[in-house]
Subunit: 366 residues, 2 copies
């Protein structure tokens, strides 16, 4: 029997069109020693894809040995470190691996990019070099959140503080396309995260965004609360950067806290150690539910290319999943679908705003 989560995160298979994937080989806490093997795992599993490993050629070769024919090195002499100020670092380090990688997407040499580097720098590099899709006001950072069964998409988790209701409505559209194409959820249910389920609740931004989503042709199921995030109530949950960021970091902190409590009990004394031995299969089932590595990382939605920003601590296995999610995002045409959908949304909004014949006549008479 497979775990319920196995049917879920980013394990969809999507045709066989080869994707050209740039990988920032230098980013993250582990650098090439984990990123390169993870990328090579993807290259081996997907011979139809072509990978560009961006960074220091010597260190990449050291980590990867003899490279297969669908992998090539693109040299970059600099790295943006995790502690650096993103804007400053991007200005000063013109040959940083994340910039060189984004340029491969900008110039059409690559369809997608994966980085485990500095999140702020990666978002800024993607927006500056790859650019926003037409109609996108602000790109949003999304994440696949675990729960029983299929994951759901939560966004924005930190790209844009001070978002407007219109931004939230765009996030909903972008998140729904990602959920449908990459996770494989048909007609994804979209919800706004709020204080209560009733429409009058929440702040002014939420109330206005509720109106916008009500008027959209998305499958909007209304507002959900914090407790609903672990239940199967929506496939795409839209919120502002501050709330989304607090949620994912609190999730990380609280689940670690609870598992540490259990670990302490299982390691204390004979009773605990014996219970641990008995519970081992159960513990690994629980671990699989919380296997966030399968999500690969956070897609930055709304830019002209598939951009996956994975965890700074990501190791080989998670890097492999990040490459898979990036390739699937590109293969299923998520960026182009977002651009199309936003164009249609804009046309629909313009049609509603345009006065009809009656209104014109009324104006003439009045």
């Amino acid at each position: 029997m497979t775990s319920p989560i196995e049917s879920g995160i980013s394990t969809q298979t999507h045709g066989s069109r080869g994707i050209r994937l740039a990988v920032d080989a230098m980013g993250g806490d582990h650098g090439p020693s984990e990123v390169v093997p993870g990328a090579l795992d993807h290259a081996a599993a997907h011979p139809e894809d072509h990978l560009f490993l961006v960074g220091d050629p010597d260190r990449i070769r050291q980590a990867g040995g003899t490279l297969p024919s669908n992998v090539e090195i693109v040299p970059a002499s600099q790295v943006i470190e995790m502690h650096e100020h993103p804007a400053l670092a991007l200005r000063e380090k013109k040959d940083a691996s994340i910039l060189v990688g984004c340029d491969l997407v900008r110039t059409g040499k690559a369809d997608a990019i994966v980085t485990a580097g500095h999140t702020g720098a990666a978002m800024a590099a993607a927006v500056l070099r790859i650019g926003r899709l037409p109609g996108v006001d602000r790109p949003a950072l999304a994440v696949q959140m675990v729960r029983m069964g299929r994951p759901f998409v939560l966004l924005d988790i930190g790209a844009n503080p001070d978002s407007t209701p219109e931004n939230l409505a765009q996030y909903a559209r972008m998140g729904a396309i990602f959920a449908e194409r990459v996770i494989g959820i048909t007609d994804p249910r979209v919800a706004l995260l709020s204080i209560g389920e009733e429409k009058g609740k929440g702040d002014q931004r939420i109330q206005r965004a509720t109106e916008l989503l009500d008027a959209s042709d998305l499958h909007f199921v209304g507002n959900v609360e914090g407790k609903d995030l672990t239940a199967d109530t929506a496939d795409v949950v839209v919120t502002d950067a501050v709330v989304g960021n607090v949620v994912i970091k609190f999730f990380e902190g609280l689940s670690t806290f609870i598992f540490d409590l259990w670990r302490r009990e299982f390691s204390g004394g004979i009773r605990g150690r014996l219970a641990y031995l008995l519970m081992r299969p159960g513990i690994s089932r629980i671990r699989r539910v919380f296997d966030y590595e399968r999500a690969g990382g956070s897609p930055l939605l709304g830019v002209k290319g598939a951009v996956i920003i994975t965890h700074g601590r990501a190791k080989r296995r998670m890097i492999g999943f990040a490459c898979e999610v990036a390739a699937n995002t590109a293969r299923t045409g998520v960026p182009a679908l977002i651009a199309d959908a936003l164009r249609e949304d804009a046309l629909r909004a313009a049609a509603i705003a345009m006065p009809g014949p009656d209104a014109t006549e009324g104006g003439a008479v009045g």
Copy 2:
């Protein structure tokens, strides 16, 4: 050995001044059958306090039997149900138990009130009938959050969407007084919940509130992230209603989700059941860490009286703790201390805003 949590939530003892405590006997999912016994537990443990049980006399007597001399019934013929619209219900049900109870505080007959009823109706009733303290722009709903060791105070968890930076600064002041007086934390560390620890992060409201708290004489330790909520980084964490509400409900949902996963493993098969028997002492230690009942409920800070809004699902034990927290909030003079502190803050702000002699001279010359 005592659990770390035992030294924590609301178990401070505070002198022996008798408190007159109104208890909304009708509120909550269980009504008098749980509220009355919980209140009587408090009355028995604190003979110096005097309790008013507000509601249907017959049902109160049925639930409580012969009442002790420090408990009396105050009749109220109506109840606001959990599903009602708060403002509408308060207008229509003039003899609702929550209104009659708040009137006891307004007229000075009671110092404090406890309710397990409709949170929105209770907040509205408290503001309308008891009234805000001078200088309070908006009262805030706080909660004692569990972690290892002492709990911390999180506010606002849902009183005021669309709070201003000035509101957040007032919440910080009010939360610090509650933490110091009721939890017993000397010089409590105050933090703002944000996207990152750096001061430039977060939205405009957070950035401006950071400046206000930096300029205050509170023990402001800066900004914390979602992952810090389970760590011992601050004693008072200030945030907006939407974020705070999502956090506490996500906490409830996620911890239930994780414990359900364990429960399923412990109840499945011989191995699980045997492991459960071995782990029983460990499991009860873990349960004690998550014993939110000891917090009693949520203090509504900034009104002219001690108001504790406890969980709708609260049973006898939690009602007892709610009475204790309400009595301690009143006994330690939290409302008066908040009024004093806000008056001092206003004087300090006025002194800074007032031009000094140099500025006046400059003005005359210019």
